[in-house]
């Protein structure tokens, strides 16, 4: 399975993502934001970081990059596009995903491990995943997902909520919501579920000696679903 990771000025999780993808057997290549086109890929990843220093709004400047037109075309033709953290923010700014990531409710930068519940498995990312709750890592200042009531209803009706913040046992409530996100939302899909944006970093949970291995399950599962 071929993947491409797009690098923007200020991306800082691009190489972690490269290591993670290669570890599980993806043939990954790095693509610069100013390039016109993306090499043939089955998966495009917009990595975490602080593209353009989070100027104006997180992800807003990157969403106007030269390469983004190719990303949108790829997504609209059914290709898998994954945005992690800043990548999720960029995807909302391109309009591929609904809503926006606002500043965390308590104005703090959060860097910690969290549990997320997989809400939908009828998609190429989570199909056949054996676990329902994953331990992943978050590191963000703007992860407070917000959208209009109509958009929320449509997300719920189409099962587009991908993952939500929860406790180890899967409980979703205010206590297990780190940033104030509406309905504990940590990640969402587009309507066709080929585009996934999420705040948690699976690429930081791929080694039991460093953090944990639930991120490994995530990447292996994408590969298995592709075969």
């Amino acid at each position: 399975m071929r993947s491409s990771v797009i690098i923007f000025p200020g991306s800082n999780c691009d190489r972690d993502m490269d290591v993670a993808l290669k570890k599980f057997g993806f043939k990954n290549q790095m693509v610069w934001h100013n390039d016109q086109s993306i090499p043939k890929s089955d998966l495009i990843v917009l990595p975490g970081g602080f593209s353009y220093g989070d100027y104006l709004r997180c992800g807003s400047i990157a969403s106007k990059s030269k390469i983004i037109k190719s990303v949108i075309d790829f997504a609209n033709s059914g290709g898998l596009v994954l945005g992690i953290c800043n990548g999720f923010q960029i995807l909302t700014e391109t309009g591929l995903l609904n809503g926006i990531l606002q500043q965390n409710k308590f104005l703090n930068f959060i860097c910690s491990n969290v549990y997320v519940k997989v809400k939908d498995k009828q998609n190429k990312y989570f199909k056949y995943l054996k676990k329902d709750v994953l331990e992943l890592h978050i590191a963000h200042n703007e992860g407070n997902y917000f959208c209009s009531d109509d958009e929320l209803k449509s997300l719920e009706d189409n099962n587009q909520i991908a993952v939500t913040y929860c406790g180890e046992d899967g409980t979703e409530n205010e206590i297990t919501n780190p940033n104030g996100a509406i309905k504990n939302i940590a990640g969402i899909f587009n309507k066709n579920k080929n585009v996934l944006g999420m705040m948690p970093h699976p690429e930081r949970m791929i080694d039991k000696y460093l953090s944990g291995e639930d991120g490994s399950l995530f990447f292996k599962n994408i590969l298995d679903n592709f075969k």
Partner: protein, 77 residues
């Protein structure tokens, strides 16, 4: 021609920074401050002499980049 734009959060959208500013002002004995909403202000120099045209250009910029209409409103002043 210089066009000025103010971008603010829509009514009903939580503004934690505004809230923190309000609480700080209250703590500084500005007890009559009931609410603060924080926004952004832009001065855009447009190479255009016709004010109507310049404003219409900036309006387009607001829709496409300067404001995110999910949570923000803009006003050209």
């Amino acid at each position: 021609m210089k066009i000025k734009v103010i971008v603010t959060l829509k009514n009903g959208v939580l503004d934690p920074q505004g809230k923190a500013i309000q609480q700080t002002l209250n703590g500084m004995n500005f007890g009559n401050v009931e609410d603060v909403r924080q926004g952004k202000y832009f001065e855009i120099e447009v190479k255009e002499k016709d004010e109507k045209k310049a404003k219409s250009l900036v309006d387009d910029m607001c829709k496409k980049l300067l404001a995110n209409l999910v949570i923000e409103d803009y006003k050209i002043v």
